[in-house]
């Protein structure tokens, strides 16, 4: 199958890849570009471990055709850090122990980041936070530490200086 040129921006950098058009975004991110933070958990749009952000919007990269992100800005978990400094969500997750095996963590960070961005300046109830991560399954933590971390950020406790 003839490969197609895809120009996309990931974590602020421009990339060009030649791909079979059937290639999924998760394959480009992990296999072509080497950002292995994003995980393949289920490949059936269920678990959310593959969550990345397109613009400020979270999507499951296992179910996005890579060619559809032409010209768009994709952020993976690796892209949350800026100039060697972890994002407030990342610091909160570390502080609150919002992870055990870490497999869901990349996806959780992306969903949390999208949720907080969408609700900047607004208060978030616990229910809203739990709804905000409805697309991400965690088998280890029982979610409470994750919710606490997101809540702490929402309350401004990890404001970046």
């Amino acid at each position: 199958m003839e490969k197609r040129l895809l120009k996309l921006s990931v974590n602020g950098e421009k990339y060009e890849v030649y791909i079979n058009p059937k290639t999924l975004l998760v394959e480009v991110i992990r296999d072509h570009l080497g950002f292995t933070g994003t995980k393949r958990g289920c490949e059936t749009v269920s678990c959310g471990a593959c969550t990345v952000n397109i613009g400020d919007m979270s999507v499951k990269s296992c179910s996005v055709l890579a060619v559809q992100v032409e010209g768009l800005n994709v952020t993976t978990a690796e892209g949350l850090e800026k100039d060697g400094k972890l994002s407030d969500v990342q610091v909160a997750f570390l502080d609150q122990g919002a992870y055990q095996c870490g497999f869901c963590t990349s996806g959780m960070l992306m969903s949390a980041t999208a949720l907080l961005k969408e609700n900047e300046g607004k208060t978030l109830t616990e229910h809203q936070i739990r709804e905000g991560i409805e697309g991400n399954i965690c088998r280890c933590t029982g979610y409470n530490s994750i919710v606490r971390a997101i809540d702490a950020v929402a309350q401004g406790k990890y404001k970046e200086a």
């Binding site: 199958m1 197609r4 079979n20 058009p21 059937k22 999924l24 490949e43 059936t44 749009v45 959310g48 969550t51 397109i54 919007m57 979270s58 999507v59 499951k60 179910s63 996005v64 055709l65 060619v67 559809q68 969903s111 999208a114 949720l115 709804e131 905000g132 409805e134 697309g135």
Partner: protein, 289 residues
Amino acid sequence: MIHDFNYLKPGSLKEALSMLAEHKDECKVICGGQSLLIVMRQGMVTPEYLLDIKHLEELNYISFDAKDGLKLGATTTHREIEKSDVIAKNYPVLVAMENKLASIQTRNWGTIGGNLAHADPAGDPGPVLIALKGSVKVGSASEERVFPLDEFFVDYFATQKNDDELILEIQVPVPEPKTGTAYQKFNLLDSDMGIVASAVSVTLNNDGTCKDARIVLGNAGPVPIRVKRAEELLVGKKYDEALFAEAGKIASEDCEPVADIHASEAQRRHVAGVYTKRMLKKAWEQAMA
């Protein structure tokens, strides 16, 4: 494994329709792909050509006016519908339905047109849009056709749309005064597909009797099912919980649910009946308010 395909990216709706006219049944249309990519990955759908309409902004709009009602472009995402102020104001049941549809990530990328075209019997929008008396406009390079949604779904994953047509627009009329619409789906996890669902709309006369009702079951058959026998029962009657229970019983009888890993046929019938009774009460009370 997804099979290889020839990727087509039209620059405009016109170009998309002419590509469809050329390739017809060798061509499958992808928009958000939130349903399509799953079946393609399983090798169940293996088109020669894949027509990508995700970026067609011409089909991405939400417009409302007090006379013609709501018009949704086919490539409008579920999340855009969920977050729309004009829809929250005029069709809150649509926002409630979208809020429970899959998960945020899927709603961010998947579209209302794609959902209806895929025609999964467990789909959420179908029953709700039927309860709202919605229609769908499909178009080819040569003509456009409009179908009331309760005539659009033909079978599992099959609609009236031909291979050379695209869904263009979803149309929902302005609800009559004293109308209430409610929807509930039964599932174990919030982001799951509905095991069975009931969408009910009730319009009342000024004296509080029922003028008109729609009762639509989701995932109780190959397509959304309007329980006309229960709808007819309600016309002319007043608010009565025993009546709602009877309508629920009819709903549990007049459907063809399957048995699968999620539920037995009997359980689907039972829940269809219970949810119909509850949604009838909810919709009626909304209409009275």
